[in-house]
């Protein structure tokens, strides 16, 4: 059978998310990065002195650190740090009622369906536009339970003692060049604190939107689930399609204290001119559970390896990820599990689809420290290739310094199976339907873990992608 041309994922991206508003900003930092820009951001936000110094130190670290020598060197080398606006403040103050959001921004999020989603199933929403959070709400019952859910800047202002205690303790600026960059110029992001033994039943959501060209978005998220509590947080991201690139470099820190449970779901659907270079890391203390559910559909280059440090006995970590790489995209994603305590368990399931000239890479680390006895960990990577120029890489790393452990890794790479297509066609499905069904089956373990609205949206995206694929 001749390979049939398949249209790209997000072929309607331009119509759906690719619009951009006329730029109306109260404050737009000049392009380029300097101590002056950092000083300006900090002053503008009226931050405490420790944060101002933290930013300046982080900038020095960023400037001193070389670019990573691994990964997609060609794309990484094309980032022009001097051609980026590091801070953009949109019009208006943060609103807690949808009606108060400035009209042009409201239109944006209306088009993206955010308020609708909130009405339907969310316990709280944060919407970030460029550098600042423009809309924020939380359901009353959660507020009564003393669940804190704000944007990070408000978190710093209103709960300085909690922020200072945990901020940058999981990901210090020295961790990597992009974490240092974020630490220097961060703005927005979510701050969540769940008090002991409090269960947040409905997901909390944040929505991130880049509007301007050559914009850098550096949100900073910190989630603390106190003893025995649980929370599910979801984020989505989009940006318009411009001819030159934007940079998104977030830092996300999760802290699950004893017996707490955090699930963090991301559906990243940046336009294909966004560099998405993100550091995400969680600490899971005794009996805690942390789960990253990570979908990477958009962006030009994503480098993202959600990590879980299993710090206390019997902690459990899971990463479940799906990557979709179409033409011109490189999804360099993966996961890290650090077993630092005995009887900890973890599981990584990674699925990737490379289509046309797309490239997806799994890069992972499983580390068992000396003394972390009786750990169990398994890694499973599945890659599906559609098109003879599609590319898939698998680079798992296993560092095992303890003998009493069970470590398993498995990876498979294959093309859309002819036998399966043939079987489905023999049952009366046309080739489009057959392909769609196989792809849906392939990512089913991921979709199953999403809230229904997200699952529906993802299925629709995949459907669009597979449409008209017959040649």
């Amino acid at each position: 059978m001749k390979a049939s041309p398949i249209t790209d994922l997000n072929q309607d991206y331009k119509a759906k998310y690719g619009f951009h508003d006329p730029e109306e900003y109260i404050h737009k930092a000049p392009k380029g990065l300097s101590h002056e820009v950092v000083e300006m951001i900090s002053r503008y936000k009226q931050e405490p002195d420790w944060m101002r110094r933290f930013r300046h130190e982080a900038l020095d670290i960023f400037l001193a650190k070389p670019m990573p020598k691994w990964g997609n060197q060609e794309l990484l080398g094309s980032i022009d740090f001097d051609n980026i606006h590091y801070y953009l403040k949109p019009q208006g103050e943060q609103a807690s009622s949808w009606d108060d959001v400035p009209e042009n921004i409201k239109r944006t999020f209306d088009r993206l369906g955010v308020p609708e989603a909130e009405r339907k199933f969310l316990a709280g929403v944060t919407a970030q536009y460029e550098s600042e959070v423009v809309y924020h709400s939380i359901r009353e019952d959660l507020a009564k339970q003393n669940v804190l859910f704000t944007d990070m800047d408000s978190g710093l202002r209103e709960h300085p003692e909690i922020v200072r205690k945990y901020f940058a303790t999981i990901i210090p600026p020295t961790d990597n060049k992009f974490a240092a960059l974020n630490s220097a110029v961060w703005s927005g992001g979510s701050f969540i604190y769940v008090p002991p033994h409090t269960k947040v039943e409905i997901p909390l959501q944040a929505y991130f939107r880049i509007n301007a060209e050559n914009m850098g978005q550096f949100e900073r998220t910190l989630i603390i689930a106190d003893e025995g509590s649980s929370v599910h947080y979801i984020e989505g991201c989009t940006a318009p399609v411009y001819s030159s690139d934007s940079l998104h470099s977030a830092v996300v820190e999760l802290i699950a204290l004893d017996s707490a449970h955090i699930r963090y779901t991301t559906i990243q659907n940046w336009s294909t001119n966004v560099f998405n270079l993100v550091t995400k890391r969680a600490y899971a203390h005794k009996d805690a559970v942390v789960e990253w559910v990570d979908g990477n559909l958009g962006s030009k280059l994503t480098m993202k390896y959600p990590a879980i440090y299993l710090m206390g006995e019997r902690a459990h970590g899971e990463v479940l990820s799906v990557a979709f790489a179409g033409d011109g995209q490189h999804q360099d994603a993966g996961a890290k599990m650090i077993h630092a305590a005995p009887n900890t368990t973890s599981r990584i399931i990674s699925k990737s689809i490379s289509k046309g000239e797309g490239r997806s890479s799994y890069r992972g680390l499983v580390k068992v420290a000396k003394g972390a006895e009786n750990c169990k960990t398994s890694v499973e990577c599945d890659a599906l290739l559609i098109g003879e120029k599609a590319r898939s890489d698998t680079f798992p790393t296993m560092e095992i310094a303890e003998d009493d452990v069970k470590v398993e890794h498995e990876a498979r790479v294959s093309k859309l199976a002819e036998e399966q297509l043939f079987y489905l066609q023999s049952r009366g499905l046309d080739i489009d339907q057959a392909r769609l069904m196989i792809v849906n089956g392939f990512i089913e373990p991921f979709v199953r873990e999403l809230p229904m609205e997200y699952a529906v949206e993802l299925n629709r995206l995949i459907e669009l992608e597979m449409e008209g694929s017959i040649g």
């Binding site: 290739l385 120029k389 590319r391 296993m398 095992i400 303890e402 990876a411």
Partner: protein
Amino acid sequence: MADQALLSSPGKPVVSEKDIRTLAEVLHEPPDVSESRRECLSAYQSADWPDRVQHLWRYTDPRRVMPEQLKPDQLMPSQRMPSSASQIEQAKDLLPQEGPAVLITPNMKPEVNASAREAGVVLESLSEAREDLAQLGQAVRTDHGLFEALNGAAWNAGLLVKIPRGKLLAEPLRVLIPAMASTNLPRLLVVVEDGASATVVEEHVGGNAGTHSIGVSELFVGTAAQLRHVIVQQWGAGVVGHLTTRTHLERDAQLFTVLASFGGSVVKLDLGAALTGEGAQSEFMGVALGEGRQHFDHHTEHRHIAGHTWSNLDFKVALTGRSRSVYTGLIRIEENAPGSEAYQENRNLMLSEKCRADTIPELEILTDEVSCSHGATVAPVDPEQLFYLASRSISGPDALRLVVRGYLENTLRRIPAGLRDGIESLVTERLTRLVGEH
């Protein structure tokens, strides 16, 4: 300029053009061989230390593998005598096959047995070869890496093995490579011409604390030819060794590689095959057993360059004491290699509390018409197996030996019949030593 190069790579031993010229003169080399040395020397001189960010050198410091210095007299063959003749004799007896071994030593006069001579097998010192050496440096090129460039510039004991077109050689050819001097730079070139078939057993033996060996082996398997390549690494305790092998496979060629890696103190092996012709097949079965403070770093590569090629790799490691194993294994399927299949498995058995295993299996797949998988595991001995054996009144070292033997069995069983016995007895001997320590 020279100072700058030294600054950027502190500690890289200096080798001068004069040293290489003298070496070439002493060995009476033809000019084209000397030319290839010069190219490698300039690559060596301009090369930096390997990048530790890359997986290949992530867990082994290249400075630990390189000799501190290379004085001119260390490079000259005339200065080199067997450190222990009995050691070499002993090594010769390790494989039970009949027939004499060929020694790669600087002053060797290679001899072949009667049947091989009749078949027209060529065995020559690389420096004195009358045969065409066009393939020298074609499988392991000057830009391969620092250690390979050093060998290419300064190898001082080389052997050419050539199996003429269509000849089927039943008896294995044993090539013994003893580490006799403080720094050894052996080189092996094997050419199996179209339609020929042969078995080459490459044995690295000898040496002790203070011995370095940096070897390169290039192997070429012609159209529809077959090569069984056995690599036995039994360096003495204390040896720091680096060995790179690359095999090129033409259309429908078949390669079967067996690795038994046991000896040395710091050992880095980089073993690879390039499937350059359609229908080529490569299978690799490897076993490494570590004890004491041994540091093993094994890298394997299967590069599928042509379509409809097939590879399978199974590498098993068992570790005792404070030994450490690093494994990085690459499967790469190039854009123009549709219809290829590649499989890889690495298992690590942890027999002591202080051992350590790092494993990075890698897949790089550049086209869609493929089937690939890899798997890796790290685990201790299954207590249920020990329990079962105990219920049959087998316990202690005997039980452990049985379990390890069982663990290796699937791999050993795939080794071709004529070679299996030899490797199995090597493994048995090694296991008795390893598990007897407990």
